[in-house]
């Protein structure tokens, strides 16, 4: 972590060349607050894709480059790396079904991961979810005195 001191920054910092930019085009609003894709041409979809890795088929890609079958009938789930978070990679050591009927991969560090297909009414279609659950603090803080 790097800290850069700038005690008088609010009033008297040196101004550098901040980008000079044209006004943005207006998004096209549709019902429900969603928007149609009226994206500016200056940044293309491939440019965005370079920051978001692609997903593939009926497999779940793992951070180590291997793949395992997607669970719970998921089609085209996002790679697990995208949602693994800031945790060291931990290999899959088992497969379990929860009491809710959802299959999960169990990882060596106690984490779980899975994929699911869910219907999103607002989109009018099913989407794939890639889900990860890492164990957090074993003793979470107390519930509040008034229980709210």
């Amino acid at each position: 972590m790097r800290r850069v001191s700038g005690t008088a920054a609010l009033l008297a910092l040196v101004a550098l060349a901040w980008p000079r930019t044209p006004p943005a085009p207006t998004p096209t609003t549709v019902a429900g607050g969603a928007v149609l894709a009226a994206a500016p041409s200056v940044v293309t979809a491939p440019a965005l894709a370079a920051r978001v890795a692609p997903s593939t088929g009926h497999q779940l890609l793992l951070p180590d480059g291997s793949a395992v079958p997607a669970l719970n009938g998921a089609i085209d789930p996002a790679p697990l790396e995208r949602y693994w978070g800031a945790f060291p990679w931990s290999p899959i050591v088992g497969r379990e079904r929860s009491s809710a009927g959802i299959e999960w991969y169990r990882h060596a560090d106690g984490s779980y991961s899975t994929t699911e297909m869910v219907f999103v009414e607002q989109l009018g279609k099913q989407i794939a979810l890639t889900r990860v659950a890492h164990p957090g603090p074993e003793q979470p803080p107390n519930t509040p005195p008034d229980r709210r």
Partner: protein, 362 residues
């Protein structure tokens, strides 16, 4: 020092490669991905044991450009911490995104519900004790779920009723109470007086209401995160040394009776964790503007309006910049607000990305 043609300063070479990751944008005093959470007041639910949505408000007077990939909010999932009173019992929850109502607060009509995934569950466990799951629920929607920019919006989780909570079972969220919450919390948020609750409860049957705390809950985005933090050496509300990056950063107390808070900027990015960041501030937000070659939007204006507040290099996805030490922000700033924003640039892909912008109200 390379200087791209649009005048964006970048410094030297980055080591980072484009990571196939996302950033959780969480408004909380500490960074739940990288810091030990000593500031959590309690684990709680939005409306006791009753069914309700726990929503985080993203007010466009406070934040702009969260998840702004191509001019709109692009949301790739929901991050939250589950406090489970009995891990052995699977918990059920929904993922919710709402737009704001014209009268303020979340729009609870069907038209206001723009995204809902119902009935997700926590993983299996044989452990009958209390515990925590850090949940990453990611969508595979090409380009993310897209919603409108420059509008107050709400994201969170919906919890079913659970009469067993908190005695023997149930799902709650990690929360940091405002000073005004009157819950007896010794740690939590540490803002100036008069701040409204930044989260909402939407009961299954009833009107929504503000809740005086922040949650460890937020959207997954591909934009870098910029958070402002307050520095108050007279307080132990954080439970540890450092800046408080939740509501304290939006509303520091510089009034001098007795506090004269300082200000810190924290910039995080999992996608380019060793990038250089170009950080600026201006006297308020500007209309969104696009810059060729930079993903996202500039929300704080052009070079004539912006002062540079730092050019740090991220280390493992983090850089912090002290903007003002405690006792140095003039009381003349009271009543004004500043807007902060930054850019990261990756020389490997030759792509730059605007962070979100955040206001600081004095």
């Amino acid at each position: 020092m390379p200087v791209p043609k649009q005048g964006l300063f970048v410094v030297a070479t980055l080591i980072a490669t484009a990571q196939a990751q996302v950033n959780p944008f969480v408004l909380y005093p500490q960074d739940p991905e990288r810091q030990a959470l000593t500031c959590t007041s309690f684990v709680g639910r939005p409306d006791l044991s009753r069914a309700a949505e726990a929503l985080v408000e993203f007010d466009d007077q406070q934040f702009r450009g969260i998840g702004d990939a191509l001019g709109f909010h692009r949301i790739f999932g929901v991050y939250h911490w589950v406090a489970d009173e009995r891990l052995a019992t699977v918990e059920t929850y929904d993922l919710i995104i709402r737009i704001g109502a014209s009268t303020g607060g979340p729009d609870t009509t069907p038209a206001g519900l723009v995204f809902r995934v119902a009935s997700l569950t926590t993983p299996p466990s044989a452990n009958p004790a209390r515990g925590t799951w850090i949940m990453y629920d990611g969508f595979n929607i090409q380009g993310g779920f897209t919603t409108i920019l420059s509008q107050t919006w709400y994201l969170g989780v919906g919890l079913p009723a659970n009469p067993a909570w908190p005695a023997t079972d149930g799902h709650a969220l990690f929360r940091a109470d405002l000073l005004s919450a009157n819950t007896g919390a010794t740690v939590g948020e540490n803002h100036r007086a008069g701040v409204l609750g930044p989260t909402w409860a939407v009961p299954a049957n009833g009107a929504p209401f503000r809740t005086p705390w922040t949650y460890v809950c937020g959207p997954f985005v591909t934009t870098p995160n910029l958070h402002m933090g307050g520095l108050d050496p007279t307080s132990n509300r954080l439970g540890a040394p450092g800046a408080s990056f939740g509501i304290h950063g939006l509303f520091p107390d510089v009034g001098g009776a007795p506090r004269r808070d300082g200000l810190m900027l924290r910039f995080t990015d999992n996608l380019t964790p060793f990038a250089f960041a170009f950080l600026g501030a201006s006297l308020g937000f500007a209309l969104p503007q696009w810059e060729p070659g930079i993903i996202g939007s500039n929300h704080i204006g052009t070079s004539g309006q912006v002062i540079t507040v730092g050019l740090p290099r991220l280390q493992n996805g983090v850089a912090e910049v002290t903007i003002a030490l405690p006792g140095t922000i003039p009381t003349a700033m009271i009543g004004n607000f500043l807007a902060f924003q930054g850019v990261v640039w990756d020389p490997n892909t030759r792509l730059a990305n605007w962070s979100n912008a955040q206001a600081v109200s004095f």
